[in-house]
Amino acid sequence: MLTTLSRIIKYGILGFWRNGWLSMATIAVMFLALMVFEGLFISNVLTKAALESLQDKIDISVYFKTSSSEDEILTIKKELELLKEVKNIEYISRDKALEIFQKRHQGEEIIAQALEELKENPLAASLNVKAHNPKDYEVIDAFLKKESYGEFIDNVTYAKNAVVIGRLNKIIDTVQRLGLFLTVLLAVIAVLITFNTIRLAIYSNREEIGIMRLVGASNAFIRGPFVIEGIIYGLISGLLSFAVIMPIIYFLAPYAKAFIPEINLWNYLISNSFNLIGYQLFFGIGLGIFSSFVAVRKYLKI
């Protein structure tokens, strides 16, 4: 059993080496296919980050009448927090609002004077509400329209932003659906190309397979070396594509950052490199094994 296994491995490596050109061509195709996978992986990371940063910028603000007390506002906040759609709520008291306002208009004499003249803080307290999903703002807005709140709430910004939020929702939906479609499409193409390449490599060995059968080799003994070759293809093309993608990401990362400030592609790659390599090898080797296994079967009938 062990001698058989070691012979299978030996012949796998030998076959890989002696069919040099064919092996190179197969690896080149698998390498390109894996680059497509990798490209998909990274573009998914980017779109996800872009969409998240967009979603994060959406919120609705609830402005309270200056007559509402802090207690009343906090009660409403608590009630809001009970909604499952709400992600978080930031309370901005009247004092805090004033502080923010002053900071924003620092060094503007007229505004400072105007505030002084008023004596009283003219700014309203507010709640900044963020939802888990941009689609949930409608629900939150409806909740805030409750009659009992009318006496405290001055206005809710949803109405103003509804159109923008709606449009964003549509964009996010489309991008996600398109991304999924492209991922599936390109993945299928990559798998088919790899499968066919390995099939062709084995097709060129069909006579050998027949001869092996005639000499009395068992199917496992014939198939084994091809599967080993498939594993080698996957291993090399997986590592190669990772080695190539690293410098590409390194150079692209600053551009991605300019586009989406929240993402550091390079750090992301480094911290996920094990995952990424894992996926690569899994896909590469898995495809190699599967394709070899299926392709040899056809020629084992003698």
């Binding site: 001698t3 058989t4 012979r7 076959g15 002696r18 069919n19 006579e207 050998e208 027949g210 001869i211 092996m212 059968r213 005639l214 000499v215 009395g216 080799a217 068992s218 199917n219 003994f221 009938k301 003698i302």
Partner: protein, 229 residues
């Protein structure tokens, strides 16, 4: 040791072709039998049936304890390790050296590395190729290739060696060498079945001849001659 019992083979592709029609014969241990006939007479079908590549449409093919006509594809490898085969087109593994081609037959039988190291050089020496062990088939002449094939066929000490037109691609001198080798193997105790349409070879052999005509046995004589027109 080998029994063909009322064997018929009909290929059903576009229209039915009768390759063998009710063929019966028996081959005893250590015999040297030539199966002769024109192309299409059914020689190859007989050799293919012996190694389980084709199944009879009717009748039985028995080899020792094996009823070949009833073997499943999975059981074929074990049968084939008891039968050595050589072909007109040599059928060597192109990306393996002469040594590896011979060793392969031992490896598939699960023999140890020590045995391989011992037997393979012996077998190649027997066929006179000890100095071409690490050559690939494309670096060998036709006669040399056929001798590698014989070494491979004999390495597992098969009970029977089937030679399907072994001299078809060889010049007369090389062909004579191969036949000499087959006779030597036969003297050492291996049953030989030689399928050929080479009249001179058969007539020089002076051994048993089974003649096939249109899928039927037309003659079966000890010390026979190739008498077909």
């Amino acid at each position: 040791m080998i029994i063909f019992q009322n064997v018929s083979k009909i290929y059903t592709n576009h229209k039915d072709t009768i390759a063998l029609d009710d063929v019966s014969f028996e081959i005893k241990r250590k015999e040297f039998v030539s199966v002769v006939g024109k192309s299409g007479a059914g020689k190859s079908t007989i050799t293919k049936m012996l190694i389980g590549e084709e199944k009879p449409s009717k009748g039985r093919v028995v080899f020792g304890d094996y009823d070949i006509s009833k073997l499943k594809p999975k059981e074929l490898p074990r049968l084939r390790r008891h039968i050595g085969v050589i072909f007109q087109d040599f059928r060597l593994l192109a990306n393996k050296t002469a040594y590896e081609n011979v060793a392969f037959a031992l490896e598939v039988a699960g023999r140890s590395q020590a045995e391989i190291n011992e037997f393979v050089p012996q077998a190649l020496k027997m066929v006179g190729l000890e100095d071409k062990m690490s050559n690939f088939p494309k670096e060998l002449s036709g006669g040399e290739k056929q001798r590698v094939a014989i070494a491979r066929a004999m390495i597992n000490h098969p009970d029977i060696l089937i030679a399907d037109e072994p001299t078809g691609n060889l010049d007369p001198i090389n062909a004579a060498e191969i036949i000499k080798l087959l006779l030597k193997i036969n003297e050492l105790g291996t049953t030989i079945i030689l399928a050929t349409h080479n009249k001179d070879i058969v007539n020089d052999l002076d051994k048993r001849v089974i003649s096939l005509e249109n899928g039927r046995v037309s003659r079966d004589e000890e010390k026979g001659k190739y008498l077909l027109v």
